[in-house]
Amino acid sequence: MKKLSVLLCIVAIITGFSMCRKAETFNDDGYDERLSGGGLATVFDATSKAFTHAVDGLSGRDAHVQKAGDVAFEQTFVSSPAPIFGGLGPIFNNVSCISCHHNDGKGTPTAGDARSSLLFRISTLGANEHGGPAPMPGYGGQIQDQALQGVTPEARISIAYTDVAVTYPDGTITHLRKPTYTMQSLYTPVTGACNLSPRLAPPVFGLGLLATIQEGTILAFIDENDADGDGISGKANYVYNPQTKQTELGRFGLKANTSTIAVQVATAYQQDMGVTSSIQPQKSCYGQSQMNAKDLNAAPDLPDSTLNAVIFYIKTLAVPARRDVLDPTVKRGQQLFAQLNCSGCHKPTIQTGVDMTLPSASNQRIHPYTDLLLHDMGDDLADNYTDFLATGKEWRTMPLWGIGLFEKTNGTPYYLHDGRARTIEEAILWHGGEADKAKNNFIQLSKTDRDAVITFLKSL
């Protein structure tokens, strides 16, 4: 009897403890699909600050540098001479990193004011000495549409939209807006052929992970002659790196026109703010008829310590975790995303390589939804601007991680390279070229299934 009661008690204890275990329905392999940025670089925050968190496991010193980079990223620059944060302009697009990358996320598609996140690259025919876009005489490679007092901005860009209706087979009509960009108030006339390329500031998180993907992994996605016949080819961009003076695989920028985070950051300081650094020591007004000679031999505006802190900050921004991964509609949308072959370019899963300085980014299974390759996106999205090997119709596959949070991080969300799409649905409908087949298959879906695809994308 005593033995029985002891036994019963033990059973009760075991039952009791086992009831504490919450029922969780993960995949059979136990993998947690929410970990978009892998085990150490995923953050569970779905608020407007979702893109602003550091990866796990930074040492005390690294955390200090990360924080310094965070502060510098938000720092407003002023005109020189100034005791602190001088070097702005004299021509520029904005006054701080955060002015364009709101909440470290995507920006607002206006140009030339304090909230604007849209800038325009400019080129003329041919190529520069490194195979990049040929600068427009008097303008360089980018239009700086703001300037210090007493200086004329290079130009203003007027943005106009016209309505384009798309009708689904079930009769539903969705309206797209097609942008037209016109240069106005030019400080000096442009000469010869002129190509403009609009670029909306993209989110800046997760880049450390993308930087760590091995080249071979990216190159293996190439199918330039479309041997598998799915209509998708994919092409690598090879670009000049002003820091290493080498030609390297491009992975950042909307046309994969930059090879490293360091160059991306230094070039943004130089071109967007007029702030020089050791990597980009020349003022953005160089070559301007207005103020060509100014400050050419001055010491860099940005000390290396600040530049490096910002580079490290960008490298160590974590990716937000997915939400609602077990929701049946999300699951259905995920299946359709694969069936439509959206995943032909928006690769759901990639394994990163190793960077000894970034353990959080090394050897991680991540879900960036990009192949980092260039694809022909059709005439409607074309800007006719050649950027190293990227043609006027080619754009780099945009990573989709975090896309479901744009409404939170940005107030009003905008999508695509120039923010013309106001919803994810509009963005899908703009796809053309290599994505034509996937888009047409999407259009053929029932309303329920189309909504499921979008619900899935909002879970990213």
Binding site: G16, T47, I84
Partner: protein, 365 residues
């Protein structure tokens, strides 16, 4: 042996009881907690957020009126009244920084009115400029030429000792355009919470029950707590620490890192930021009081509530120990500054390690 049986039986009961997630009094407390979750959001929105932005709008109107008077009659009495109005408005704004989420960030109202540093060269160049200032001009200026601090520069002067007679016609023109721009920004910010089309107050109040911004209540609670942690960190590790650290390496530049230097209100700014955080936690603001986060926490964990309230109070009162203007305190009162930064760090850690997990555990819808 019998003792062992009793012990085991007790352990068995305990293990079962440990799993019982409901409150002891058969779920009625759970219902109360559910009601509380909704009411705290409504009270925060009405008593703290909307009330704060409403005050901000009123004080922007008042500052405009006082500057207008100064513009019409440049007497030292009018200058002094304008300075008081500036300081009062600044205090309200710094308290509103205790909840920096929603339109204030999404629509860039914050950088449009509170960007630091100011740009001396460009301000001086503007005020030497012959053309007239309009509010439309100011809206097109870069951020460092808009908002509180350029107004501060004009009415206090670089060293804080400007007299009414020093004000030039151009300065007054710039000042009026700035004040009108600031008034517009504050009106838009208030409307974004209180009126259609944005009606952010409604988005917060209906979180998890129809809100399009917050499909779960947990999301908005995390945004609120995120705002508290952010301001704690901003004051402790940026606004105070940057000049404090810089003093050791570049003493000549350190004072330039201090915000609101012309008016000398830096410490009041910092303290008001923390009072703003306290308002959010307690659900009180300027005489109004209702339910706050404290009620949610106390319902489940009174000792955590006590702990948080104490730490907030310690942090808020610690600012009173810094008696010199901050630009001087970084040299002469380093111990006091260090104590405040430690109190802020301690508070931030409690918010991060105790309050945030509390919310995540107890508010899942």
């Amino acid at each position: 042996m019998k003792n062992k049986v009793i012990l085991l039986a007790a352990a068995g009961l305990l293990s079962l009881a440990a799993c019982n997630k409901k409150d002891d009094n058969n779920g009625s407390a759970t219902t109360d907690f559910n009601t509380l979750k909704t009411k705290v959001l409504a009270d925060f929105t009405n008593n703290v957020a909307v009330a704060g932005y409403s005050d901000l709008k009123t004080s922007a109107d008042d500052l405009y009126a006082k500057l207008q008077t100064l513009n019409n009659s440049a007497t030292d009495a009018n200058l002094s009244a304008a300075r008081d109005a500036w300081k009062k408005m600044r205090g309200t704004w710094e308290q509103c920084e205790g909840f920096l989420f929603g339109p204030v960030e999404d629509n860039d109202y914050d950088p449009n009115m509170d960007t630091w540093p100011t740009d001396y060269n460009q301000m001086d160049s503007l005020m030497a400029n012959a053309s007239a200032f309009t509010v439309a001009d100011v809206q097109n200026y870069t951020l460092s030429l808009r908002g509180y601090h350029p107004i501060e520069y004009v009415i206090f002067g670089k060293d804080g000792n400007k007299t009414a007679a020093d004000l030039t016609a151009k300065e007054k023109e710039y000042m009026m355009a700035l004040a009108e721009d600031l008034k517009n920004t504050c009106t838009s910010l208030y409307s974004s919470w209180s009126a259609a089309p944005e009606n952010y107050a409604q988005q917060v109040i209906t979180a998890g029950a129809g809100s399009t911004k917050y499909t779960k209540k947990q999301d908005v609670y995390l945004a609120i707590i995120g705002g508290m942690m952010d301001i704690c960190e901003e004051v402790g590790t940026s606004k105070m620490k940057d000049p404090y650290d810089a003093y050791l390496t570049e003493p000549a530049l350190a004072a330039f890192l201090v915000e609101s230097p012309y008016a000398g209100t830096s410490i009041a700014d910092f303290k008001n930021n923390l009072i703003g955080l306290q308002n959010v936690y307690l659900g009180t603001y300027n005489g109004k009081s209702g339910l706050g986060l404290k009620d949610l926490v106390a319902a489940k964990n009174k000792s955590l509530d006590n702990n948080i309230q104490t730490k907030i109070a310690v942090a808020v009162s610690s600012f009173d120990n810094i008696t010199l203007p901050y630009g001087q305190a970084i040299a002469a009162q380093r111990t006091q500054i260090q104590a405040t930064m430690a109190a802020l760090d301690d508070l931030k850690n409690t918010l991060e390690n105790d309050l945030e997990p509390f919310i995540k555990t107890n508010i899942t819808d």
